[in-house]
């Protein structure tokens, strides 16, 4: 077992609100870890800390062996965070969105095509503007761009929200494939039933602490 995320006593604030009040978390490579808890429990902030996006005020931590206090920038290139927003450009088509991300990492057109096919946003959908997509289609587009970015840790915030039944199965399959290919998945969800079948381990986040 090799830990890819190790957090100790992490405090992170949003403005002056302590979203995380001293949290410990360890994630092993190849896990599908589910973070459970009610809304406002700090799941999103925890994911953002793991992604190197939210600076921590106190405590210490390492992600992929990189220190989160001093070298957040190095973490970012190697993890993929999909938050409440999908990070899409609404005036670009599905294909243009994914092509843009591919250009930032130098992924080939073949990789783009295969990612779109895997997330079922190829064909007719490829030419549709993101602003005209349904919530589920947007999410699938965002996931496809995550594939072309070749993220080692996937941090997913409510990934099942807005997906229909087949989309959810598709996503579960995709996440299992990704783990089989060497990725680690951390997902936050309050739909425990759904995600439990997928997750290999469950951690409850509540009031800024983790158990």
């Amino acid at each position: 077992m090799e830990p890819v995320i190790e957090l100790k006593g992490v405090v992170a604030v949003l403005g002056s609100f302590p979203a995380l009040a001293g949290i410990d978390l360890t994630v092993q490579r190849g896990e599908i870890l589910l973070l459970q808890g009610p809304n406002g429990a700090g799941k999103t902030s925890l994911l953002r800390v793991c992604a190197g996006l939210l600076p921590i005020e106190r405590g210490e931590g390492r992600v992929l062996g990189i220190d989160v206090t001093s070298q957040r920038e190095l973490i970012r290139a190697r993890v993929g965070l999909l938050g409440h927003s999908n990070g899409l450009y609404l005036d670009l088509t599905v294909e243009q969105n994914i092509m843009f991300w591919a250009a930032t990492v130098g992924a080939s057109d073949a990789e783009v095509a295969s990612a779109m096919k895997r997330m079922n946003v190829d064909g007719r959908l490829a030419k549709v503007k993101a602003s005209q997509l349904s919530a589920g289609q947007r999410r699938r587009t965002a996931l496809a761009s995550l594939i072309v970015r070749r993220a080692e840790i996937w941090l997913l915030d409510e990934p099942h929200a807005g997906l229909d039944a087949s989309g959810r199965d598709e996503l579960d399959g995709l996440l299992r494939d990704a783990v089989a290919a060497g990725a680690t998945v951390v997902l936050a969800s309050h739909e425990s039933e759904r995600a439990n079948g997928l997750a290999t381990r469950v951690v409850t986040v509540d009031g800024g602490g983790a158990r």
Binding site: V13, G15, S16, P18, A21, P55, G207, G208
Partner: protein, 244 residues
Amino acid sequence: MSTHSGTGTKATRGLGIIVLLMLIALAFFGLVFSAEDVVQGSTVRIMYVHVPAIWVAYLAFGLTAVCSAVYLSGKNRSLAWDRVAGASGEIGVLFVAVSLVTGSLWGRLTWGTYWVWDARLTSTAFLFITYIGYLAVRRLGGTHRQRARRSSVLALLAIVEIPLVHFSVNMWRSLHQSASVADPNAKVQLDGLMLFSLFLGLFAFTLLFVWLVLHRQRTLQLEDAFADRGLDAAIAARREEAVK
């Protein structure tokens, strides 16, 4: 709780008394003892507050830039540097405002108008607005460190921009309009006592600036500490919630 009251110490109180005495002396020298100017008459007496005010403003913005640079380059990035930068920037804005107002009153007497599009006046106005922007950015919210980094970068940008704005405004006046309004200071022939009053003013205002910065950065430190204390309480409350 503290037994001490306020942001003063023995040293600042001593400094404060010296500053007060010097300012009273300045009023006597500037308004009573020093002679009227041959050309400008009594209007020259505005100079003894106007020139020291703009001097302190430059000093203050210089200090803001230096502290910002130290904050950004330092290894442990002490927020104290950021607070001194912020205190100094705020005081600088106050002194620019003073020098703009006294300057325009002086201008009304010597040029017959409150404002002329003279190079120095125009670039001072830009300076004023630039640092109002700096203070606005300091109040944007977020954590102390966010505030410190944003405002430090902005202060360093400002220190590069200002010479360029000044240079371009100068170029505008010298190339565009042949008849430039003469510099008011140039007309003044300073005798010994006037020169003494001016230097007294510069010295007194500089010490006043030091006194103000000391007090202001201490109140800022208290404000930061209280925000942190609120944070500590909120963290404790959240942990308690979690245990339940």
